[in-house]
Amino acid sequence: MRITPPADTMAIPDDYESCDIVSINYRHFSVWLKSQVVETLKGVVTEVRFPWSQTVNADNYRTRLNRLPEYALEAMELLQSTVQTDTCRIISCEADKFCCTLALVAPLPQVVYQGLQSMPCPDLFAMPHMENLDKSAAEYVFAHRQRHQH
């Protein structure tokens, strides 16, 4: 069903599409860069997985995961402002009750590593886990959407 959005709608960043699945025992929120843009990106895809911090976990429990999208977008903004090179873009961000997974594409994975090292430790997360993937940005986003959409 198509929805007329209310005036106070949650701000999804431009060029990104989103999907929020709310079920009984899981919640899955994700945003991804629209395909027209993602297809033009070249470079290495690096996936960074941030487990939620104790505080966020507790809050998620209390709010029945209803603030999960808010936290995910906050994380995305934080990372975007840390890695401020034109050649490095966030291609997707997904959050469930365990962690927030961000995928970036950069000409070299070092760009992402350096960026993250300079990032002040955020309150939102515990220690992140990083992984370079042998996939193009478009392939990654495609696989990501396959996982959760119907």
């Binding site: 929805i3 959005p5 106070d8 709310v22 029945r64």
Partner: protein, 296 residues
């Protein structure tokens, strides 16, 4: 001594048309009373078919309304309390829909049969039409099976999806918001909880509004079939009842247009044995001719 069996139960009955508080009345013969009783029964059965169909459709509208509200709340993601308050209401609307659908389908044949007690062929035809919907439509089978699940667990919806996509409309890229609700197969449980044959053909997720939209189509066909089968009976019964109402009005005036039929009997100490309204069937403001598919 042989017991004398009376050829008719000696109720010593009297029959009247009366106003609501019975201060005005017109006597009826037993035959007229029977005619009115039969007419009223038929009209009430046919009206029941329409009322029940409307019940399903109204519950569907409630589902759509609540879905729109919930979708707007999820796209805002602000008012958590309102979201949590609306979710059970949405579930309630779905439960009501499923229950009212069963109220409709389980009694349809009985209602038609009550109007056409001698038309076995027609009843068979209706049975066949219902079987055919069941054979042809997954939605029909699924909603039918979901009734058992819903009555057992009180849950008619498992998941929501709120999504935004960027689409081009009138030369501009805009963000489109969509909202869907689902029944998830994993949450239904195993074949011991759900009709096994239907569980086997159930996809991972069943989208509720598409499901019910399709199901509404089946019910519409059955409703139209039943109404057209009974339309002749309806017109006859309507004519008989309105004739009596008109006679009463002609005698006592329009201010006494709310007419009842009363069956009194001495056997009960001049008490009322049976009483039923008739004006509501000839002057029904809650059902239109359109509901009853009438064309005069």
């Amino acid at each position: 001594m042989p017991i004398r069996v009376p050829d008719r139960y000696p109720m010593d009955s009297e029959f009247y048309l009366t106003t609501r508080d019975q201060d005005l009345s017109l006597p009826l013969s037993e035959e007229q009373f029977r005619e009115l009783k039969r007419g009223r029964k038929r009209l009430s059965l046919i009206n029941a078919i329409s009322h029940k169909f409307k019940l399903v459709k109204s519950n569907f509208e409630l589902i759509e309304q609540l879905m729109g509200q919930l979708g707007a709340l999820y796209s805002g993601q602000r008012d958590i309390q309102k979201i949590e308050a609306l979710k059970p209401q949405f579930n309630a609307a779905i439960n009501n829909y499923i229950l009212s659908a069963r109220i409709f389908t389980s009694q349809l044949k009985r209602h038609v049969q009550g109007c056409l007690p001698l038309e076995r062929e027609l009843i068979l035809e209706l049975t066949e039409a219902m079987d055919q919907e069941y054979q042809k439509s997954f939605s029909y089978r699924f909603v039918d099976a979901l009734y058992d699940y819903v009555t057992y667990y009180g849950l008619g919806c498992h998941a929501f999806q709120s999504r935004t996509t960027l689409v081009e409309e009138e030369g501009q890229i805009i963000r489109r918001y969509d909202f869907h609700a689902y029944v998830e197969r994993d949450f239904i449980g195993g074949p011991s909880n759900f009709r096994a044959a239907i569980l086997a053909e159930t996809p991972d997720r069943v989208e509720i509004s598409a499901l019910l939209d399709d199901y509404n189509g089946s019910l519409q066909r059955l409703h139209d079939r039943a109404i057209s089968m009974t339309s002749e009976v309806y017109i006859d019964a309507h004519q008989i009842v309105s004739e009596f109402v008109n006679v009463f009005i002609a005698k006592y005036g329009h201010e006494h247009a709310d007419v009842f039929v009363v069956h009194k009997t001495r056997a009960f100490g001049d008490k009322i044995y049976d009483r039923f309204p008739i004006s509501m069937y000839v002057n029904n403001h809650s059902l239109s001719d359109e509901d009853l598919l009438r064309t005069y």
